[in-house]
């Protein structure tokens, strides 16, 4: 029996969809029993959401005041204490999971499988290296605990419909005082979250200014889409870094990705190759983005985008 512990990601109010994607990944492991662990100050609400994810056997709540903010140094020793009863410990390949899970792995004395993209067996997985230019199949020792981050773009979210049992646990683990949360500044908007949006409109260097990004925001709002950006656009200061899509930004898998004025550097394509449909709009017909686009349109984005928005109507 393989027992997978998934470290759930949440903001205190809602469970991040990355968690349900980890569940789908874990479901691919044979003879498996899945538990979600939630750390927080008060996880009652998010625990009810996690319990409703299909395929989950149990939800474990670990509530204590120190867990209000997801600090890896605080969470890791508690995850280790919980991990004793499990064969596998998974976290999402988000900034939360990427920060936390290697600390957990090191405390357990094992390496981590990063960005797990496919399950071949309980200890055999596929993962990308070199910005996705190569895929390796790795095998871990079944005698040890397996720690992994799950590449969320590779998995659909598990559906609702689960009725997992919720249990509260108090762990007597001493926590360090050397790391303190100060604050957060979110670039939050009313638009959908880039990581999980079904539709994404994304802009590149050809937008030429932060001000010009407004035409993308306007198009995105018509479509109910999130807005992304290439690294070139972020480096040029046209868009904030949390909008970056690609090897060093977010890896996403929307239903439709509309790349506007993005040439399609390999590092960018790494971030979008799991998109269901890619649309490219670029004035350079030779741009590499057209090699991967399902629909390509050669044209001036400053004409095309407003025109497209107009066709979408009100």
């Amino acid at each position: 029996m393989n027992k997978v512990l998934i470290i759930g990601e949440h903001d205190g109010k809602s469970v991040n969809p990355a968690t349900a994607k980890c569940v789908t990944c874990a479901t691919a492991i044979p003879d498996v029993e899945i538990t979600i662990a939630l750390f927080g100050a008060d996880t009652a609400g998010v625990a009810a959401q996690a319990a409703a994810i299909a395929g989950v056997k149990a939800v474990v709540r670990v509530d204590r005041p120190e867990n209000e903010h997801p600090l890896a140094a605080i969470f890791a020793p508690q995850v280790v204490a919980l991990a004793a009863d499990y064969t596998h410990v998974f976290g999402p390949s988000t900034s939360f999971g990427k920060d936390l899970m290697p600390r957990v792995a090191a405390l357990l004395g094992v390496s981590q499988v990063s960005d797990l993209m496919a399950v071949e067996s309980a200890y055999k997985f596929r993962r990308p290296i070199y910005a996705g230019n190569a895929i390796i199949t790795v095998e871990a020792d079944a005698a040890r605990k397996l720690v992994a981050t799950v590449r969320v773009a590779s998995f659909e979210a598990a559906p609702a419909g689960g009725t997992a049992a919720v249990e509260s646990k108090s762990l007597s683990v001493a926590l360090p005082a050397h790391t303190r949360y100060v604050g957060a500044k979110s670039g939050s908007t009313d638009r959908p979250d880039l990581q999980t949006a079904a539709r994404v409109v994304s802009g590149g260097r050809a937008l030429a200014s932060a001000d010009n990004f407004k035409i993308l925001y306007s198009l995105a709002d018509k479509l109910g889409a999130a807005v992304g950006a290439s690294r070139a656009a972020v480096d040029a200061g046209y868009a904030p870094n949390e909008m970056q899509v690609g090897q060093t930004g977010k890896i996403i898998s929307p239903e439709i990705y509309i790349a506007i004025g993005i040439s399609g550097a390999i590092q960018h394509l790494t971030g979008i190759k799991d998109a269901r449909t890619i649309v490219a709009i670029n004035k350079d017909g030779e741009a590499p983005i057209f090699e991967v686009a399902d629909y390509g349109l050669v044209g001036d984005l400053f004409q095309v985008v407003p025109e497209l928005e107009k066709l979408l109507g009100t």
């Binding site: 600090l71 890896a72 140094a73 890791a76 988000t94 900034s95 939360f96 990427k98 920060d99 290697p102 600390r103 957990v104 792995a105 405390l107 981590q112 990063s114 055999k124 990308p128 290296i129 070199y130 996705g132 230019n133 190569a134 895929i135 390796i136 199949t137 790795v138 095998e139 871990a140 360090p176 050397h178 790391t179 303190r180 949360y181 100060v182 604050g183 957060a184 500044k185 990581q195 539709r199 479509l223 972020v234 870094n241 949390e242 239903e255 439709i256 190759k273 449909t277 890619i278 649309v279 090699e291 686009a293 399902d294 629909y295 390509g296 349109l297 050669v298 044209g299 025109e307 979408l312």
Partner: protein, 249 residues
Amino acid sequence: MQKIMVCIKRVVDYNVRIRVKPDGSGVMLDGVKMSVNPFDEIALEEALRIKERVGNVEVVAVSIGVADTQQQLRTALAMGADRAILVQSDVAVEPLTAAQTFLALAKKENPDLIFLGKQAIDDDANQTGQMLAAIWERPQATYASKVEIGGEKATVTREIDAGLETIEVDLPAVVTVDLRLNEPRYVKLPDIMKAKKKPLDVTSLDALGIRAEVFLKTLKTEPPAQRQKGVMVKDVAELFGALKKKGLI
């Protein structure tokens, strides 16, 4: 603040297009240009800026790798590191072994800060810094986009999925850096000449008492599945029609 250790990795240059060997045994690395991992360059730059701001800080660049990794450490010295240590190893080490090796060096050097890139662009593992902090039993501040040192602590702004987060950590601490922290300086010719005279010590895993463990066996390496090239549309109306027909908009 007296000493900063910067961990750097020799990797295939950012601009090289990687190809998978036809027999699936790995990627082709013969004759390929090697460089300092770009994130580690940013890590070193930040250490040098702190040195320039605070003064009287020694910056030690360390690496684990084949003998030729001395080239990348010379680059680090040319950028401004005071000295360098190479832990020579002909086998590629996994992140946990790398962390254990850096811990062994940290115990000798007692740095106030250890900087690393957030990930290496070859294996994209994104593990070593966090692991080092864990086994050193010290704070970690990953994905830093701003680092402020004040007395015995550092205030670090981190790039997270939702935006920016600020945390405060007691020193010594491990900081892994993100892209927007700074823009690394260019190395000038006189600096390259000067770097040749700076100390570069070579040691080994054995000498540090480290055993390189294999946790993950790589069974095969494959090229990624390619997306098929789609269709070109002639104008916005045709694009709109096609997307509408597929129910995408």
